[in-house]
């Protein structure tokens, strides 16, 4: 596949190919539906490319710890899974965050809790954006809304991971993983960053170690402060969002990923009928694009949060708006995918009620 040319790819392939082009040297993973196409793609492609490592691990626990080991050596490394598997990885993600090991973790979310089902869902929002494992930490969380963005964000994820020495999560769902869209692929990275901190054997120099055991509370506190300052830097510099038809909107839908695709369809239908609705789409879920959303509240009085979960994204929206506007939730948990027509009816009803109140 040539760079800078349009090719038709499946969602999981788009993520895999972008990762390889970003210089992903290692992939470790364990099968789970609905993301198996991604490890299968990596197994095939990594065999064709020089210097790549693919290991099918015995569990997600092992996979994330292989990621940890590879990252410790300075390699660009990725794993992928789906909700129950990502739950198992939380221990390792906490250690990655503590040791500041760059890593990229793809979660193709399925309906839950428990074994749930394999339908598209967004119910791991809290797990992704609040750290997920034990301890005070954050991961950068990216939520592509279409396949070109999956390519661009996956490519960027490896740079973010290295720049901030942090785990980066990419959230998708079975819909995003299975659909096909034309994408333009970036070139293969050849100028990978040097990592002075990597553990590769002491050579002739001083021996080094990386650990997360900090028994002295003051040392642990200062490590936490260091992490916190890093998170603040990321919160200042990295929030990303997109908006559609918000200029004169009276009601704005807030949605990400698959939900945002559906919402865009609904907004488009309503706009065609002269209904003044718009869409705000967070692209980074952490850092949450709070400033951009709050800015929108200068002109918009009401927001409707549409999420394929039950009251998770809405918390960040409320925190961002901090009482500046009315916020309502329309959540559809359990893997249900509503159509743009259904959502447009909901929006239309809310819009009319709002006009009636006013």
């Amino acid at each position: 596949m040539k760079s800078n040319e349009k090719v038709l790819l499946r969602g999981s392939e788009a993520i895999g190919e972008a990762a390889l082009r970003a210089g992903c040297q290692c992939y470790f993973g364990y099968p789970i539906t609905p993301q198996n196409e991604l490890p299968e793609y990596m197994a095939r492609r990594m065999g064709e490319l020089p210097g790549r490592t693919f290991v099918q691990s015995e569990s997600e626990l092992a996979a994330i710890n292989m990621v940890y080991g590879a990252s410790a050596t300075g390699a660009r490394v990725m794993t992928s899974s789906s909700s129950p598997g990502v739950s198992l990885m939380q221990e390792g993600i906490s250690y990655l965050a503590a040791c500041e090991f760059p890593s990229v973790i793809v979660n193709i979310i399925r309906g839950g809790p428990g074994l749930g089902n394999i339908a598209p869902a967004q119910s791991d929002y809290f797990q992704a954006t609040r750290g997920g494992g034990h301890g005070d930490y954050r991961c950068i969380v990216l939520a592509p809304g279409f396949l070109q963005e999956s390519v661009d964000l996956t490519y960027r994820a490896f740079d973010l991971a290295d720049e901030y020495r942090i785990p980066v999560l990419i959230l998708g769902d079975g819909m995003m993983g299975q659909m096909m869209e034309p994408v333009v692929l970036p070139a293969f990275r050849e100028d990978l960053p040097k990592k002075e901190w990597a553990i590769t054997g002491a050579g002739k120099g001083k021996s080094r170690f990386i650990r997360s055991l900090l028994l002295d509370v003051h040392v642990e506190e200062s490590h936490n402060w260091k992490l916190y300052r890093k998170y603040q830097r990321i919160e200042r510099r990295e929030p990303r969002s997109d908006s559609y038809a918000v200029e004169d909107a009276e009601l704005v839908v807030v949605a990400y990923g698959t939900a945002a695709r559906i919402a865009k369809g609904a907004v488009r239908r309503l706009r065609a009928r002269g209904v003044k609705v718009g869409l705000f789409r967070p692209i980074t879920l952490w850092p949450f694009p709070a400033k951009a959303l709050a800015g929108l509240a200068e002109s918009v009085g009401r927001f409707l949060v549409f999420e394929m979960s039950m009251g998770q994204l809405v918390e960040d929206v409320k925190l961002a708006l901090n009482g500046k506007a009315e916020v309502e939730l329309y959540g559809r948990p359990g893997g249900v995918v509503v159509t743009p027509v259904e959502l447009s009816r909901i929006l239309s009803r809310r819009y009319n009620a709002m006009r009636h109140e006013a």
């Binding site: 040297q25 290692c26 470790f28 490592t53 290991v55 691990s57 015995e58 569990s59 626990l61 092992a62 996979a63 710890n65 292989m66 990621v67 940890y68 080991g69 590879a70 990252s71 410790a72 050596t73 300075g74 390699a75 490394v77 221990e91 390792g92 250690y95 040791c99 553990i199 590769t200 054997g201 002491a202 050579g203 002739k204 021996s207 080094r208 170690f209 990386i210 650990r211 997360s212 055991l213």
Partner: protein
């Protein structure tokens, strides 16, 4: 002094600091052996240790090589990730019985089965040391611990896990041996095994493990000397010593 030869001293790669291990504990001896073998094989530049969760977590304070700390039980998975990226380094995990034979059993077996070219130093003292002496997967039948106050009952707790025997049938394992550090003879034997395991890794043969029966005076509630007796009478009959597997291709 004139006419006298120095025959023993601190190994070059054992840091000159006091260690935190209890008097009579086997860890400090094992650390010393590792430092000696690393010096003799001249691999300090490329040796990487993955210390465990447990008393030996602070191994990086004592052995002068690069280290990456692993979560409890995950050592061999971390080692897999490292070794796949750095195939010419000598990567070894240092793990206790709970770490290796309870919480990390899956990682151990699958790393061994894949024939990862890594070495595991398995310190078997039959108790959870750092957490205060609870039953370990290798606690022997009848042994009293804080969670088996009447002694380990195989009908309830299962019998002790024998890891060398367990790993031997796997095609990926190339060197498996069990020894102790409770006598000068056995200490020499243990050093020889560690050396053989590392040499096997240098030849990229597959997975190697040295299981070392080790004393834990604090949690066994025995004096250091009594501990040596317990190894003889309590442990060796349950965990026979020797080489369990050796698949050696002569160096060319």
């Amino acid at each position: 002094m004139k006419g006298m030869k120095k025959i023993i001293g601190r190994p070059k790669y054992l840091k000159d600091v006091p260690n935190h291990y209890c008097p009579g504990c086997g860890h400090s001896t094992i650390h010393r052996l590792l430092a000696e073998v690393i010096e003799e094989l001249d691999i300090r530049d490329r040796a990487i240790c993955i210390p465990p969760c447990g008393c030996a977590v602070l191994a990086y304070d004592y052995i002068d090589i690069d280290m990456v700390e692993a979560a409890h039980g995950r050592g061999t998975a971390v080692a897999t990730g490292m070794k796949r990226c750095l195939p010419d380094r000598v990567v070894f995990t240092y793990q206790g019985d709970g770490d290796l034979a309870a919480i990390g059993t899956a990682e151990l077996i699958h790393s061994a089965n894949r024939g990862e070219s890594i070495t595991t130093i398995f310190v078997n003292n039959g108790v959870y040391g750092m957490t205060g002496g609870q039953m370990a997967p290798t606690t022997v039948v009848g042994q009293k611990t804080t969670t088996t106050p009447k002694g380990r009952n195989p009908g309830v707790d299962g019998p002790p896990m024998k890891m060398c025997e367990f790993l031997a049938p796997l095609d990926g394992t190339v060197f498996l041996a069990r020894s102790t550090v409770h006598s000068p003879k056995q200490i020499k034997q243990t050093k020889k095994y560690i050396r053989q395991a590392f040499e096997s890794q240098l030849r990229d043969e597959g997975f190697s493990m040295v299981e070392i029966l080790s004393q834990c005076p604090s949690n066994w509630k025995l004096s250091p000397v009594e501990c040596c007796g317990w190894i003889e009478e309590g442990m060796i009959p349950q965990f026979p010593l020797g080489v369990y597997k050796q698949r050696q291709t002569e160096p060319s």
